[in-house]
């Protein structure tokens, strides 16, 4: 019966996808993309990937959509009709798709519990993680400990994106609050934002620190945290928000997150372990794992939150 939901969602995704291909209004496409993302997030929930769902919703339906809209607002909405017939692309796509479908023919069936993918490494993660790491959420333990190095890479990637956006769009600080006139009319928004700002932040921190037990972790928390500040900026103006968190502070925070992560790794090295070997961080290996995961998740959260803000401010402040 989950399969039914799964299939319907896939069907909806397909419709959305085709609509995106056909639609000419870029803003419309953007909204459809947001819906696409939302639908795939639901699909992830159906497929038991709750952490992924959380992230996809926060990213796809959230920040990515906003960035796309900002870009359209900074450029233009209408898509020109392509000049040449897209015959070659169609051919390439067909060939690629055909190849992939050909490849699926020897794949284990969808959901087959005996598939090699589930039997080997993953199986032992599920068995050993509670003992070795003591964290119920296996995704977190794999993410932060077994494959903690990937996550360091991930933080670096997002940091790179921030550096890129800073380089490309810069970060213009608003001296005077020029949107003041517009803001004054947003009574509803302002009051609601006032109520929600602390709630969102608290919720973000909750997600940050409960990644061990449920879906969540540094990345999701970072995005939510940033969302709080985005709401603040929406309600009270960019200038006010920028005064609350100055750009230099954001830079420092973005860097600090990566550095915290790396420092945990180096510290475990100094304590006689391998890079990112958390168990040496405390006397008890499990406690060490906990501490390590806590710290690196903190690093991830800090970097992600500040990077999201850097990117968002970068796009939004581009308007003269």
């Amino acid at each position: 019966m989950e399969n039914l939901i799964n299939d319907v969602l896939l069907g909806l995704l397909m419709i959305t996808g085709f609509a995106i291909v056909r639609m000419k209004s870029l803003l419309g496409v953007t909204m459809l993309t947001s819906i696409y993302s939302l639908l795939s997030a639901s699909l992830f929930v159906v497929l038991d990937a709750v952490d992924v769902a959380l992230t996809e919703a926060a990213i796809g339906a959230g920040i990515a959509t906003v960035l796309m809209v900002a870009t359209v607002a900074l450029t233009t909405d209408e898509e020109k009709v392509p000049r040449h017939t897209p015959l070659l692309p169609l051919l390439v796509v067909m060939a690629t798709g055909a190849a992939l479908i050909y490849g699926t023919l020897d794949m284990p069936h969808h959901g087959d519990p005996l598939a090699p993918a589930h039997r080997y490494v993953a199986d032992s993660y599920l068995h050993d993680s509670p003992v070795e790491i003591g964290v119920p959420n296996v995704v977190t333990s794999v993410l932060a400990s077994y494959r903690g190095y990937d996550t360091l890479g991930e933080v670096t990637v997002i940091f790179t994106a921030a550096a890129g956006v800073l380089a490309l769009l810069g970060y213009r600080t608003r001296g005077r609050n020029i949107e003041a006139a517009g803001i004054r009319k947003q009574v509803v928004l302002r009051v609601i934002a006032k109520l929600f700002f602390p709630l969102i932040l608290l919720f973000a921190l909750y997600v940050q620190f409960h990644g061990d037990y449920g879906p969540g972790g540094g990345f999701q928390a970072g995005v939510i945290f940033a969302t709080g500040f985005i709401l603040y900026a929406l309600a009270f103006g960019l200038g006010t928000a920028q005064r609350l968190i100055p750009s230099q502070l954001l830079r420092i925070l973005a860097a600090a997150g990566v550095l915290i992560y790396a420092a945990v790794g180096l510290e475990s090295m100094l304590l006689g372990g391998k890079f990112l070997e958390y168990r040496v961080l405390a006397d008890d290996p499990i406690a060490g794992q906990h501490l390590g995961i806590l710290l690196i998740e903190l690093g991830v959260g800090i970097t992600v939150a500040s990077v999201m803000l850097i990117i968002y401010y970068g796009f939004v402040s581009r308007r003269h």
């Binding site: 009319k185 509803v188 928004l189 609601i192 109520l195 929600f196």
Partner: protein, 105 residues
């Protein structure tokens, strides 16, 4: 008692689902943007409320219910705010409304 709860919860859920569907249909059917906003309100209020209530009855008295309650609370604030913001933005974006010319009798 359990039976009553179960029946109550299911009927809440089902009722909520139906209102959600009705809201969605309204969004599809109504002639212009501003009227569609009302249909969305149906979803946001009764539809969502009933579904959440049904779930709360399922969850019994626990932290789950608290979370559902919190969700309900959030939705009651975010829903109208979003709709209001939309309407305001549409107005500022010079989207014309279809307005009935007749004064009420």
């Amino acid at each position: 008692m359990d039976m009553v709860l179960a029946v109550l919860s299911w009927s809440c859920l089902l009722g909520g689902a139906i209102f959600l569907l009705i809201g969605a249909l309204g969004v599809l059917r109504f002639p212009d943007f501003y009227t569609r906003l009302h249909a969305v309100s149906v979803c946001d209020t009764l539809g969502a409320g009933l579904v959440l209530a049904g779930l709360m009855l399922q969850g019994g008295f626990s932290l789950v219910t608290v979370k559902l309650l919190l969700m309900f609370y959030f939705m009651m604030f975010t829903g109208p705010t979003a709709v209001h913001a939309l309407a305001q933005a549409a107005m500022q974006g010079k989207l014309q409304a279809v307005v009935d010319e007749h004064e009420p009798e």
